[in-house]
């Protein structure tokens, strides 16, 4: 079972709820480190930790000598989220269509990305993602078959893959390394996403890792560039 939630996580969600519940606008200030520490009965370093995470996610903005403030708009930078989570955080209903769901044995390039022995069986899942009834992405996922027995029976047309992995298989995800580039839609992708051949596609290849840094899933996302932008934050 899961261990107890760390204090800094509780504070983190508490601050986020404070923002949404009180309807704080960008620029409004949130409690200072010292206030949070007192409020939650923790030490200063712990309160700081919570704010540091929120800053990296783009929820909050810190100004030295001045305070901590609600950040500009609402994109969660650099945060690994599922399509389902992303949609519901924007108040939209997720909607997908399962195109492929089978076990494969012969894609050795991806086997290598997942650090598996050559010839290993993998589950391959292809889904089309919709935003308000318009298809905007084709996502192809690969997972080691040995670690996810019965995965294909989980109604992946309607269930969140992240949810199944984390809750039904008890795996904690930690981070993803991603390669981003641009391509043109080939015939198949164009047909699936209702585009013309050659339309610009934003391609994102992720290696998602579990808590012990083992690769757990390889995902190729092909996003219709007109309907999707990626937001990131980089620090100096």
């Amino acid at each position: 079972m899961s261990t107890t939630v760390p204090a800094y996580r509780r504070i983190q969600t508490a601050v986020q709820q404070l923002i949404t519940r009180k309807g704080l606008k960008p620029g409004d200030n949130v409690p200072s480190e010292r206030e949070l520490a007192k409020l939650h009965g923790v030490s200063l370093m712990t309160a700081r930790h919570a704010l540091t995470v929120l800053e990296h996610e783009g929820v909050v903005e810190r100004r030295r000598y001045a305070g901590t403030f609600v950040a500009q708009p609402r994109i969660h930078f650099n945060k690994l989220t599922s399509y389902t989570e992303e949609m519901s955080s924007r108040g939209l209903a997720p909607h997908s269509r399962l195109i492929t769901g089978k076990v494969i044995y012969n894609e050795d390039e991806i086997v290598a990305q997942l650090n598996l022995p050559p010839g290993s069986a993998m589950v391959k899942i292809e889904r089309i993602r919709y935003a308000s009834d318009e298809p905007f992405a084709l996502e192809t996922c690969y997972l080691p078959n040995a670690e996810f027995p019965g995965l294909l029976a989980k109604h992946l047309g309607t269930n969140s893959l992240f949810f199944v992995i984390e809750n039904e298989f008890g795996i904690t995800l930690s981070y993803a390394d991603e390669e981003v580039d641009a391509t043109a839609a080939d015939e198949r992708v164009a047909a699936l996403l209702s585009l013309s051949c050659g339309s610009p596609i934003l391609r994102i290849c992720q290696v998602i890792r579990s808590s012990n840094n083992r690769p757990i899933m390889y995902v190729i996302g092909q996003y219709c560039a007109q309907r999707h932008t990626l937001f990131i934050r980089r620090f100096r």
Copy 2:
């Protein structure tokens, strides 16, 4: 003048030098938190801080209960670097060509991105970036003219813009928020980058901020997708 370098920064660069000097390979372990603390005469939290930053940059990988190790490749994830820094970190010579360098008054969309009053004067700088004599990117920068008097006289064909901003104007950069999408090369870009019209282009629009979170520079980068990939890391 500049203040003293924080201890965690010193440890950070010390670890990086250790890796390059000893030629450590991915998977080799670096000193543990406790070792680093003893080595540099700092407390455990400070040594941890250094490793946390290195982990976010993708230099180092931590495995709970096991240790800290040199990370897989050597791309510096999520780190705001200049073209010049990126090239020299790969042992390549930077090479650019200045296309445009002038003061403009009439691009109000960008004026808004920089939080300036409407009609403000901005410096506009366009440069082509080369990788081993092949053009691979067109970068267009906008800066508030009032804050950078004499910027255009700084030999921007050869000098690093980041260097000039940080050292000659004494500004500390903190982070950049970026929008990434895919497009097709228009006629001008195609000509400048020796591509055919319609080739896939990875476009990155950055708002770079100084230490007090004021926008300092707006950059539109258009990268030839065949010759450039973006690496990022996202955390759960």
